[in-house]
């Protein structure tokens, strides 16, 4: 059910952007009001979501341990997968956020001869999702060349790295290739891997389509149907420095750019209300971001409350005779 519905949503947004590219009235709205609405909803939405998480405590320290604990001094602790210090937990998080360490462990289970289960290394999901996420980040940072004047020096640096192979003119960015490959892989496995197909919801296909839409329109503009980049930059800088945007400037923006822009705004709006909040959630995951020092350091549950217990006195009361008969010491000999 998921794919058709998300395709429909995607096409509606594509259509809106397309029409806006040709209708001056809509173009004005999409070019002047939409970005502010999107930016505001994005920031406020994410903050609200994270604050909502933050308002719930972490009552117990429930780290998932993936290696040897700290115990006797002569047993080697796995300090990253089973950290006992805040520093170790920080290292674990860093590897998790930057390199998707847990996903790197991924295996594939299959039946052999219809009777044996065998496990094989399966790093494709890790590779393509890492490629996708890193590319997305680098592409976002590269776009600072359209966002600010003067351009920060890291942008030039990133562009040089990204265009390292100097193939083509304009130089083909490695991240452009990787993000398309990554998204395609992530999308296709949702359709062809029966397990993943079953669990996929419209809200799984939609963001993939949306980001694919952004990437494809971007690639089209860079390599094929070129747009007036000076006008684009004047436009974005005007938005980001709260300067009015003239209709003559809007007129210079190509429909393809308006589609690209509409997709981006949609993504910003959609972000805080979807699974995409895993961006922030990963940092708060209590099985990963805590040290496994439970027996060393007391963890306090802020809502700890008293529960009815069966006290020793009540216990002895019930079994005293039998205990005395069996010669087990008791508190009250009667």
């Amino acid at each position: 059910m998921g794919l058709g519905l998300s395709l429909l949503y995607f096409i509606v947004i594509l259509g809106l952007g397309w029409i806006a590219g040709y209708l001056p009235f809509m173009k004005t709205i999409f070019g002047t009001i939409l970005p502010y609405v999107a930016l505001l909803l994005f920031l406020v939405g994410i903050i609200a979501r994270i604050v909502r998480w933050g308002r719930s405590p972490v009552p117990f320290r429930i780290t998932t341990t993936c290696g040897q604990e700290k115990s006797l001094p002569w047993i080697r602790q796995n300090k990253l997968d089973n950290p006992s210090s805040a520093l170790g937990a920080f290292g674990r998080m860093l590897l998790e956020v930057l390199f998707f360490r847990s996903l790197f462990r991924n295996t594939k289970a299959e039946f052999k001869d219809n009777e044996k289960l065998v496990y094989s290394v399966d790093k494709w999901l890790w590779f393509f999702s890492l490629a996708f996420h890193w590319s997305f980040l680098i592409i976002f940072l590269r776009h600072f060349r359209f966002f600010t004047e003067p351009i920060p020096s890291f942008v030039t640096f990133l562009q040089n790295i990204d265009g390292f192979f100097q193939v083509g003119l304009p130089i083909i960015y490695i991240t452009d290739v990787l993000i398309l490959a990554g998204l395609t892989y992530l999308f296709l496995r949702r359709i062809f891997d029966s397990k993943v197909k079953i669990i996929s919801l419209p809200s799984d296909y939609f963001p993939l389509l949306l980001i694919l839409g952004i990437a494809v329109t971007g690639v089209l503009m860079r390599y094929f149907f070129k747009t007036d980049l000076v006008a684009v930059k004047e436009f974005t800088v005007s938005i980001l420095s709260f300067q009015p945007i003239g209709s003559d400037l809007l007129a210079k923006l190509s429909p393809l750019f308006i589609i690209h822009f509409t997709f981006v705004c949609t993504l910003l709006i959609y972000f805080p209300f979807s699974k995409l909040v895993h961006l922030g959630g990963i940092f708060l995951s209590p099985t990963r971001n805590l040290a496994n020092n439970n027996r060393m350091k007391r963890h306090v549950n802020p809502w700890n409350y008293d529960v009815p217990v069966h006290t020793y006195e009540e216990y002895e009361e019930e079994f005293r005779d039998k205990m005395i008969a069996a010669g087990i010491p008791v508190e009250k000999e009667e």
């Binding site: 600010t148 030039t156 003119l169 007036d228 922030g280 708060l284």
Partner: protein, 136 residues
């Protein structure tokens, strides 16, 4: 309203918001954000080989095509309607330095205007010699 692990979460949020609004702060803190490219077009020059709109969007494709045409196909001269274009009596080659720069002789006021504005650093000049500045 109690926020558990408050300072860590707030710090994280500040970093996040700061990061995403960085362009805004950079633009607001710089007067240069209003500066736009000012191109100086050559006077008394011949008409360009393609129209202005095309050159604005696709000059890199044209140059790329020229490059492959000259180096790989050994086809050198710019032909329009079956005849080789000339400039001051000389046949015009498909060449950045021998054609484009004949008219657009001031790179700083022409090429660099947009290229710097958009952080485009073509590596043409690593080998091809600038008309005025000479070798870097």
């Amino acid at each position: 309203m109690k926020l558990y692990d408050g300072w860590k979460i707030i710090l994280g949020l500040i970093v996040f918001v700061g990061f995403f609004t960085l362009p805004i702060w950079l633009n607001l803190s710089s007067a240069q954000s209003k500066v736009k490219p000012q191109l100086v077009y050559p006077k008394d020059a011949m008409q360009c080989v393609e129209n202005k709109d095309y050159m604005n969007h696709y000059h890199m494709d044209l140059l790329n095509f020229w490059r492959d045409s000259v180096v790989r196909m050994n086809v050198r001269y710019i032909v329009r309607n079956g005849t080789v274009l000339t400039h001051n009596g000389e046949k015009l080659e498909m060449s950045l330095t021998l054609a484009c720069l004949k008219c657009h002789s001031n790179k700083e006021q022409f090429c660099d205007q947009c290229h710097n504005y958009l952080d485009v650093k073509p590596y043409c000049w690593d080998c091809h010699v600038q008309p005025k500045g000479g070798l870097k």
